[in-house]
Subunit: 292 residues, 2 copies
């Protein structure tokens, strides 16, 4: 890496941004993470952002993924349809400025139901490209909007978004249970009880009210409510997947939330596999290499 | 009714209050509705509120139902367990001040799952008492927290709360779909498409994201999104009831929301019956008569 960074990779999300100075062999030389997500930037702010990154990391080429390519971002990069491969994403990159490419997201445009992703696709395909997951696999990407992604021979063929994290945040921050869900969310008896209720639930809009009723009737302690509610939501989320016993679930994202999903997957008879960090930069590096 | 009001009935909710000057035969002489719900009042504000109502309506006795009897209200009136009849509610009233009684709510305290209601019980039992619904029936009370209530021989035996209205309000007001759900919600093709998706949905946290994806992929028009999302939520709510074809559903509350539930119940093969207004005052009057 004597020559310094070959290019700059940016995972540019809604509220956060992660930037990586990349060597030509795909090694991450240096990285930063900050709150300069697309919601904090106007369209005309991007050129200055790019200049600052170029000065800091000493490279010209930039490849960006995520919400930066949405209608709220810098330049809209239209979704690629499934089946989506790294090659198709590479071909569909849009040039936002000289030397700056934006990788598109993936859509289920013509299926029974619509769905979209921006940023998650590069993590899934990067994990496969790096050999950290098989080319035909089921992935789970816990977060505000959890994605369940299926791949066949290195192509994303279908996926489902579940608003589990967003619903938890809405319930915790607003509405009748605001103030009741501020406790810690971690694995333990309350989380597992919630998990079983969520797995058995036909409608979380009904099951979630049991949190409030349980508190009022002293069947749930205030300190347990957040973990129980999280269990209900994660249990119902994981229960949407019908073939959990057929093959492992490759969990992307790491952290405590993925650990809770691993518990839920195990509870349903599945086998969680935590994919090591680095999938996103592996995916971006594959795009850089394919277009070099 | 030459003698004026015999007593004052108050349906004292979280954000609103309805007050009725009642004749001794159960006729409503005069009523008012305002925003002086329990969240707008401190505990020590209630005596002055009662004085004002007595002066205005010329009666001393007051019977109040709803959240006024909760821990956030004036005086906590502990829940009555199921099976709950008007007689048991009458016996369990609490005296908040001379001449002022608060009717308790109903709880599922010891069942498989906990649930609670405050105010809805009087509407259900009042409808039966008034002869507007059979003594053994299934009721639906659309609102922020929809209640499905089953009665047997004039007693509430079980019920389920579904947070349908609250989830719609949270999604519309906050989170990623805020600003996308401000359109009109009425019966029509978008509502019915949403209804069918909600009925078939195993997890509304996944199905609701189709609203956003549908908008991004031009499969849903911006003007249709609110009705579609409402259809998803109401469809999933009504689909929690497994025996809709076995007996009619008695809809309480009237208004446009009940009309949407009637469409959903019909879609699932059930028979909606709209119960006329007046059930709440009929229930309060039964309590007044029983304790006279």
């Amino acid at each position: 890496m004597g020559g310094g960074a070959a290019y700059i990779a940016v995972d540019w999300g809604t509220t956060n941004r992660r930037v990586f100075a990349m060597a030509s062999d795909g090694t991450v030389i240096e990285s930063l993470q900050d709150a300069r997500g697309v919601l904090s930037l106007t369209q005309d702010a991007y050129p200055a952002e790019i200049s600052a990154l170029r000065s800091r990391f000493g490279a010209e080429d930039v490849i960006a993924v995520g919400m930066v390519g949405s209608s709220r971002g810098w330049l809209e990069a239209p979704y690629v349809d499934v089946p989506a491969t790294l090659e198709r994403l590479t071909d569909a990159c849009r040039v936002a400025a000289p030397g700056v490419r934006i990788v598109p997201g993936v859509a289920l445009r013509n299926g029974r139901r619509p769905d979209v992703m921006r940023g998650e696709e590069i993590q899934v395909l990067g994990a496969i490209h790096a050999g950290a997951a098989p080319a035909t696999a089921l992935f789970c990407q816990p977060g505000t909007h959890n994605k369940w992604v299926e791949t066949v021979d290195g192509a994303i063929t279908t996926f489902t978004t579940v608003m589990t994290g967003e619903l938890f945040a809405l319930l915790r921050g607003h509405g009748i249970m605001a103030g009741m869900l501020d406790g810690a969310v971690s694995d333990g008896a309350p989380f597992r009880r919630g998990l079983r209720r969520g797995i058995a639930s036909s409608n979380i809009a009904a099951t979630l009210f049991e949190v409030r009723a349980g508190l009022l009737l002293d069947r749930l302690a205030p300190s347990e409510a957040a973990a129980y509610a999280s269990g209900v939501l994660i249990g119902a989320d994981v229960a949407t997947q019908e073939d959990l016993k057929r093959r492992p679930v490759h969990l992307l994202g790491g952290g405590s939330l993925s650990a809770l999903y691993a518990v839920a997957i195990t509870e349903l008879g599945g086998t969680p596999v935590i994919v090591p960090d680095g999938a996103t930069t592996a995916g971006i590096h594959a795009i850089w290499s394919l277009s070099a």
